[in-house]
């Protein structure tokens, strides 16, 4: 499964981003599943999903600027992560 830079992604039905105070962690809540997110995954999901989210390419631009990192490296990481989350059903096109 590949995810293109000119496309957008959104959280699949029944998937939500939630902070759990108890565990001190951000999580993706999904049907009968929970995925604990690290800081990178959280930043990518915040940049790429939501009602006003840009295209994935736009989100990569924003992340590269925010973290002052080479765009190519950011793009590789973001596309890989999103493809994995798509494959596992957390994201929808």
């Amino acid at each position: 499964m590949t995810v293109a830079e000119d496309s957008r992604v959104r959280l699949a039905p029944g998937v939500m981003l939630r902070h759990d105070r108890n565990r001190g962690a951000w999580m993706l809540m999904a049907p009968e599943r929970v995925l604990t997110l690290d800081d990178t995954a959280l930043a990518v999901l915040r940049a790429c999903t939501g009602p006003d989210a840009p295209t994935i390419g736009g989100a990569i631009d924003a992340l590269a600027a925010e973290y002052d990192a080479p765009r190519g490296e950011i793009a590789t990481d973001v596309l890989e992560l999103l493809a994995d989350l798509r494959l596992k059903g957390y994201l929808a096109p």
Partner: protein
Amino acid sequence: MSCTAADVDAPYAVLAELTHRCPLRCPYCSNPLALDPASRELDTDGWKRVIDQAADAGALQIHFSGGEPCVRRDLEALVAHATAVGLYSNLITSAVLLDAERLARLKAAGLQHVQISLQDVEPEGADRIGGFKGGHARKLEVARAVVEAGLALTINAVLHRHNIERVDDFIDLALELGAGRIEVANVQYYGWGLTNRAALLPTREQLIAMDHAVRARLPSLAGRIVVDYVVPDYYARRPKACMGGWGRRFMNVTPSGRVLPCHAAETIPGLEFETVFDRPLAAIWRDGAAFARYRGTAWMPEPCQSCDRKEQDWGGCRCQALALAGDAAATDPVCELSDAHGTVAELRDRDAAAEVPWRYRGAAG
């Protein structure tokens, strides 16, 4: 005690069995043989306290289940309460009592996900095994309404001797309905399922054909639908981590408020179960005797104790060890390293070859 309270992580989910009442009579029902009557069910305030306590215990999700949870008129109120305390709500339902209007109310209350069980892919076989005429057509209608409402849909395909050949059709149907997830759920032989094992257990040939069919489909399904598929125990070489390990991820509250490590745990003699009237869920989870009994690895006998998989499968299923080896503290006999593994093959081959009618689940009074 198997481990100290300080070692215990919070539960991920609480299964709230709101009722044992159900219009269906599936012969593999996971409810106990001794069903709670309606008169013993916790009332609305009782369940709201359970929901508060589930959140306090650190649970992230709640599964409203049964019986058929939709027979409870207060389901909307309970979902709303779960949402208010920050729990993610799943509804595990036969769907025959649902319609678009009630789904809209449940969604407004914060429901996120609906899991609908299907008994077969065509009405005749499905309604026969469910013992409820018109059930299948109703389920399909409600499944479509779930997707239209923007809720996540899981199809629970319950496989046994009489429908296992249609596993491909189940997957096609789930895709057609727009489900985000399918559970390819082979019947588990506890409770009613155990009493009907000789009527429901598939043959080895059926099992192999089903397994090949599912594995052949998996690559093309990735990214389209999440598939939860577990090889059925009776034909497996290693056990599965039942409930993700005893007292590790789930706690189950019965209609009358007994607090269990798994829904079949009451079959185990000698375990004492607390109720929601005794102590808060967090305390029962942390050091309740029934939860501590098989939690972790200290309780394990050989060959589990020296096995490098002991923290993967957690010794398998205690109820199955009881049912097949006569001892809940034994290694799950599904494991090929168990002394009792031969028994599984014997019982399996005997029951798979039997030709007996199934007995429908009884009614909860």
